[in-house]
């Protein structure tokens, strides 16, 4: 008993600490008290218990605890003792007040007990049953942490029950008591106490003593079980920080609903489509739930879709799809109900059952096949001790595909590769002239590209083996510089004899014309492999054996030379479906229990990297042979690859409808993290695209109100962007306040997006996202500004204005003199125009600049269109033919290197001053000396004399 007590207490504290976070605790109780009577009491009890803890110093507590185990005979009030033996100890030395508290604790124990007896009745729904209006605030708490619910079990319902028990039937009483309690409590603290003491006495009178005892006894184990449950479910719960943030952000019902405990795989075989925003789950959570119970999620509606889960503001396309296919729709509650009520895979419809059966069989046969193969290998090993024991190998090698059938995905590509290799000898004979079916046969080499872990190397090897070739692989672990590639491959030696001589002895590979060279990780030919790619390319051009190059990124600069000489074969990431059965086979073989949805989860987490999935599984296998959905999720999360999103993707996410929606789980930090993915581009992208959305915040408005609010949101976003620019100026200004980066993230990116988020700004469509104009416009401005500078300095001898004056006043004024005549008069006006230009030292170049600087109807294209080509050529010719005044020669024009002033760090002015000062003094001194010696200047002498006089006088005085 004692241990049970002990364990509850800290748990209670923990809960309070979690929720109590000072700030949150306060606001919550108030509404509760008004809304929901039982909660009022709950709050009270919570507070009082905490008081309790404070009041009793640890030592006392300890002393009080010890007696617990053996019911202390000391106790003053016998009825109380009998009432609740467990908490009693405290009472021992305390008076009336503590006694009351104790009771509460007893209640806590009892209640948890209660909860356990009817297994189906959960604590959460109970209060809802009791009072008709479901108090949102309270319930919201419920689903989130199991801890909490268990905590509540301890604190709140118990009290009710305890008080009720002594009287008559449970449920009826429950209500009565609750109501009265709530009434009394706010009024005065004492009164409830009184009533309670009454209740207490009732209890003492009643003959339930033994029952209570029993319950208390039971409480111990029950608690434990509750805890265990908590642990089990804990991983499914979102982390606390996220939860808090979500709570703050979410206006309404976020997390108000509990995910029912459906049978595993109860949704198996069902295809779901989600659309719109659910009220209490984010999209991710909802899809996760569906996946957890074996459902399949598809993005688009089709005839095969079983259910559409509709949230608020569903997509128009989806609605049309529903109408078209007559798909059943569910709202959030119905969806949860479906999970709760639908029986597990036992009741899967026939088709899916058959399918599953088939899958299972396939897996088993595949596993068997594997088994036999392995046995064979083992046998071979016995006979040949040099071979490696398969069980000691990594899973990735051990379960590497052995047949083409086992390669997951990319069937077409593999077939192509196979065909090419098969045709290779004949292609060689024909001199690579016949393109063949796929047009591949004109290439001596193939370049396979694709992300890591999808079987590129494996496919290459296997295809080579199956086609009867011997693969020789060179990868990044081999040095592949130009020299080595040339000499090592013996490119110039047609017979490859040199190579054979070296390698044949080494590992017994006989190199013949049936050899295929696999150059793996070509993009890894880096600094150390200088000229490697070029040499490889040269080799490809002459090669008499097929070459397969493998790389990750096709667009890499390094692979440019290979593009023209190789046939490019791009491997795609296989889908989860393609990988699933293979992984399941392996899991079966390894005697692991892995549901399909878990595998999908892993595959999605690893981004279809089969190698990584296998590695994850082999590690997992060391500790456990089962994995449930949540474990799989966390494992995938742990092994998540850090992906860099493109600014377009980030913008789409930022301004998209989900990141800032009520059900979003992203914290402010997560949102800022998006800015930091590319902090120089993101603000530009947001500024460029923030007006292209249909803000989600305007959904509920219409007509003028919508326009007004739209402008209001735009205003806020724009002024935030303006703020962001000020921060940016501080960051990139002379003082470089880089610490302001997070502020910049918020001002320039997160905040504008938080106003303007909504559907709309995506790829394609009329309002699609665009690359920021600012970059282009800015460089154009710099260019034109420099050109304007040239104009200004040429005109400088005549004109006093600065650059902007030239642009705003002179260029419009010069226009009628040097451009308009060419339009109006034509070629005959060229001479007067040139005269005018010479007046201001303008050359043809500057004339072009002046045209280019025009806007509106003086835009360069329009003006140039108006001037006939003949006039233009006359202008150029005549200008070039004549001599023109030149205001100055540009240093760069003369071809001489301009005189450079000494560079290096510019000297500090203060320093210079200090250094010069003594020098000046020195020269002064010298002068004075000179004057002393030679000229006996009056000015210098005078002060000296006085000084001398002074000293004399002083002396005389002394």
């Amino acid at each position: 008993m004692a241990p049970s007590h002990k364990s509850t207490k800290p748990a209670g504290n923990d809960i309070r600490a979690f929720f109590g976070g000072a700030s949150t605790q306060k606001p919550r109780p108030a509404p509760k008290a008004t809304q929901n009577p039982p909660n009022g009491s709950a709050k009270k009890s919570a507070i009082e218990i905490s008081d309790d803890d404070e009041q009793i110093p640890p030592a006392q507590k300890a002393s009080s605890l010890t007696p617990t185990s053996s019911l202390p005979p000391k106790s003053t009030v016998s009825p109380r003792k009998s009432d609740a033996p467990v908490p009693m100890p405290m009472e021992v030395d305390s008076e009336a007040e503590p006694a009351y508290k104790k009771r509460k604790k007893a209640a806590a124990l009892l209640s948890s007990d209660d909860e356990d007896t009817p297994p189906k009745k959960k604590p959460a729904p109970k209060p809802r049953d009791d009072d008709t209006p479901p108090p949102t605030k309270v319930i919201r708490k419920k689903p989130t942490p199991l801890f909490l619910s268990s905590g509540e079990d301890e604190d709140e319902p118990p009290k009710k029950k305890k008080a009720v028990k002594p009287r008559l039937s449970k449920s009826k009483r429950d209500d009565d008591f609750v109501v009265s309690d709530s009434d009394e409590e706010p009024v005065a603290k004492k009164r409830p106490r009184l009533s309670k003491s009454k209740a207490e006495s009732d209890v003492s009178d009643s003959d339930e003593e033994p029952v209570a005892k029993k319950r208390a006894v039971k409480a111990g184990p029950s608690k434990v079980s509750g805890k265990a449950k908590g642990k089990e479910e804990a991983p499914a719960k979102p982390n606390w920080a996220a939860l808090k943030a979500a709570k703050l952000a979410a206006p309404a019902a976020h997390g108000t609903k509990d995910v029912p405990d459906g049978a595993p795989n109860c949704l198996a075989g069902l295809a779901f489509v989600f659309t719109g925003e659910l009220s209490s789950f984010s999209r991710d959570e909802a899809t996760d739930i569906a996946k957890r119970f074996g459902g399949r999620i598809t993005g688009a509606l089709s005839g095969k879709t079983d259910y559409v889960v509709l949230g608020d503001n569903p997509g128009a396309a989806k609605l049309a799809g529903i109408r078209k296919h007559g798909t059943k729709t569910l709202d959030e509650d119905a969806f949860l109900k479906l999970i709760a009520t639908r029986k597990g895979s036992g009741k899967v419809d026939e088709k899916t059952a058959k399918k599953m059966e088939k899958e299972r069989e396939a897996i088993e046969t595949a596993a068997k096949e594997m088994e036999t193969r392995e046995r064979k290998a083992a046998k071979a090993q016995r006979s040949n001790p040099t071979a490696i024991d398969p069980s000691s190998q990594l899973w990735t090698t051990r379960y590497a595909p052995q047949t083409l059938k086992e390669i997951c995905g990319n069937k077409g590509q593999v077939e192509k590769l196979q065909q090419w290799l098969k045709d290779w000898p004949s292609s060689l004979k024909s001199g690579f002239k016949k393109p063949g079916k796929n047009g591949m046969n004109v290439f001596r080499a193939i370049l396979i590209t694709g992300p890591p872990g999808i079987g590129k190397t494996t496919s290459a090897h296997m295809v080579a083996k199956l086609a009867g070739f011997t693969p020789i692989e060179l990868n990044a672990s081999d040095a592949r510089s130009k020299k080595l590639v040339e000499s090592g491959m013996n490119v110039n030696n047609t017979s490859l004899d040199g190579y054979i001589a070296g390698s044949a002895e080494r590992d017994g590979v006989k190199i013949t014309d049936r050899t295929v060279l696999i150059m793996d990780e070509v993009d890894g030919m880096s600094a150390g492999d200088r000229g490697g790619v070029g040499a490889l390319n040269a080799m490809i051009k002459k090669s008499k054996v097929p070459i397969i190059c493998i790389a990750n990124d096709r667009g890499a600069q390094k692979l440019k030379p290979l593009v023209s000489t190789t046939y490019s074969l791009t491997f795609q990431r296989p889908t989860a479906q393609m990988i699933r059965s293979r992984i399941m086979t392996i899991a079966f073989k390894e005697k692991m229990k892995l549901p399909a949805n878990v595998i999908d989860q892993l595959v999605a987490g690893a981004q279809s990297d089969i190698r990584q999935v296998l590695n994850m599984l082999s590690t997992w296998r060391l500790s456990s042979d089962t994995m449930d959905f949540d474990e799989g999720k966390s494992l995938a999360k742990m092994n998540e690859k850090y992906t860099i999103m493109s600014p377009f993707d980030i913008t789409s996410k930022m301004l998209g409808p989900y990141l800032f929606s009520a059900t979003s789980r992203e914290t402010l930090g997560d949102k800022m993290e998006l800015y930091f993915q590319d902090h120089s581009f993101m603000p530009l992208f947001i500024q460029e695209n923030y007006l292209k959305t249909e803000p989600a915040k305007l959904r509920n408005f219409d007509g003028p109100m919508k326009q007004l609010k739209s402008l209001h949101l735009m205003d806020k976003a724009a002024s935030s962007i303006s703020d962001g620019d000020l921060v940016d100026a501080l960051i990139h200004g002379p003082e470089q306040h880089w610490a302001l980066m997070p502020l910049h993230a918020v001002c320039s990116t997160v905040r504008p997006a938080s106003f303007m988020y909504g559907s709309g700004a995506h790829y394609g469509g009329p309002n699609s996202m665009t690359f920021p104009q600012w970059l282009g416009q800015n460089s154009k401005q710099t260019k034109l500004s420099r050109a304007l500078g040239d104009v200004q300095i040429r005109m400088r001898l005549k004109v006093s204005g600065d650059k902007s004056e030239i642009r705003t006043s002179y260029i419009p004024a010069l226009f009628p003199h040097i451009v308009r005549p060419l339009i109006d008069v034509g070629a005959s006006a060229v001479e007067t125009v040139i005269e005018k230009m010479d007046e201001y030292y303008l050359t043809k170049e500057e004339w072009d600049t002046i045209i280019e600087l025009g806007v509106d109807e003086r835009k360069d294209e329009q003006i140039l269109k108006k001037i006939s080509t003949a006039t233009k050529t006359t202008l150029t010719k005549k200008y070039n033919a004549a001599q023109h005044p030149i205001p100055f020669h540009k240093a760069s024009d003369l071809g001489k290197v301009p005189k450079k002033l000494p560079g290096g760090p510019a000297p500090d002015i203060e320093d210079v001053f200090d250094m010069d000062e003594p020098a000046d003094d020195a020269s002064d001194d010298e002068k004075s000396k000179d004057s002393d010696d030679i000229s006996k200047d009056k000015l210098i002498k005078a002060p000296k004399k006085t000084a001398a006089v002074k000293t004399k006088s002083r002396k005389s005085r002394s």
Partner: protein, 356 residues
């Protein structure tokens, strides 16, 4: 033939038509032999540069009018080449450090020291010092201004500095305290009238007073603009009688169009359209403050009386931000959205400030 504005520019202090008091003071300063550093400030087109050149002529004689342009290359601390154009005569040198952008400090330090450390070579020169004119002094960076401080004191014997700026607000106090401040205010209407009549007389025709008034109204105190407009008008209609339509410069009509866009429709699409137009103006070297001012004035002329103050308030607000910030378009756009929002609110008579 140059444009009139350059052809009939006064060359001596005595020829100036307005601010006679200032001319007299400059004259006596030039004669005194104790010539201080000076800071000329005032709006553009008021005659700052003209007065500076006249003063120089007073100091050194007509020799200062023999200008030559030189291009110098400086190396920034990061070894970047900075090209700066230098206009000089035998007696003075004129630089525009803002050409060097962020590296104006380097230019100031190198160039001024170089000039200051050499003495006047021409023995016949009237003065023993040389003059350095720094244009666009109000766009000097703080570093460059700090670099000026000591140089101004230390090399006083060899060099005088004349700063030329539109406003003194961007200059640090130590610089201002080292200079004699010369405010060149924009000419008032009668003064402009005198100048315009003078110019027209020199050009050989009589300017009708109506036309003169028209031009003065349009130019807004900018004499340069007024004379340029006068010449343009004269080209359009040689007799300058009857109703005159002063052709606005291209960018001004463009700004007017932007203003019309703002007033006619207030939607996100419209803002993006305006953004494109702003980019167009900015990239064609129209100063952002000029854009904001012109557009704001055009908008104000088209809206309700009650909105005018608000719109101007926000224009001023965002003008400050443009100065402090780096990407002007953001602030221009923010202002446009603000104005649109205000306009729409007044249109529907609805105060939205409570909306969250």
């Amino acid at each position: 033939m140059s444009l009139w504005v350059d052809m009939y520019r006064p060359r001596a202090l005595d020829d100036l038509h307005y601010h006679q008091g200032l001319s007299a003071r400059l004259k006596s300063l030039a004669a005194s032999g104790d010539f201080p550093h000076m800071l000329f400030y005032g709006p553009s087109g008021a005659g700052k540069k003209t007065r500076i050149t006249c003063t120089l002529r007073q100091l050194f004689g007509p020799g200062v009018e023999k200008l030559k342009i030189d291009q110098r290359v400086f190396l920034s601390p990061s070894k970047r080449k900075i090209e700066v154009n230098i206009v000089q005569s035998n007696f003075h040198i004129e630089i525009t450090p803002s050409e060097a952008g962020n590296y104006d400090r380097v230019v100031i330090q190198e160039l001024l020291k170089e000039i200051a450390q050499t003495q006047q070579v021409d023995l016949n020169a009237k003065q023993r010092f040389k003059v350095v004119i720094i244009n666009e002094a109000d766009s000097l960076s703080r570093d460059a201004q700090a670099a000026l401080r000591r140089t101004m004191e230390k090399y006083m014997s060899n060099m005088r500095i004349i700063l030329c700026a539109n406003s003194t607000s961007r200059l640090i106090a130590p610089i201002k305290s080292r200079c004699l401040l010369m405010r060149v205010a924009a000419p008032d209407n009668t003064e402009m009238q005198t100048v315009l009549t003078h110019v027209s007389r020199r050009a050989g025709f009589d300017l009708p007073p109506d036309a003169a008034q028209e031009i003065i109204q349009d130019s807004g105190g900018n004499l340069r603009k007024a004379i340029l407009v006068l010449e343009a008008l004269k080209m359009q209609s040689p007799d300058l009688s009857g109703p005159l339509t002063i052709a606005k410069p291209d960018w001004e009509t463009y700004c007017q169009k932007v203003a019309n866009l703002i007033v006619t429709e207030q939607t996100p699409a419209r803002v993006m359209e305006i953004r494109t137009k702003f980019y167009e103006l900015l990239s064609h070297c129209i100063p952002p403050t000029v854009i904001l001012k012109t557009v704001a004035e055009a908008v104000v002329s088209q809206v309700d009386e009650t909105l005018k103050a608000e719109i101007m308030h926000w224009a001023a607000f965002y003008e400050v931000r443009m100065r402090i910030g780096s990407k002007k378009i953001y602030h221009l756009e923010a202002w446009v959205v603000k104005v649109m929002s205000l306009y729409k609110q007044s249109f529907y008579q609805f105060d939205i400030s409570e909306f969250e």
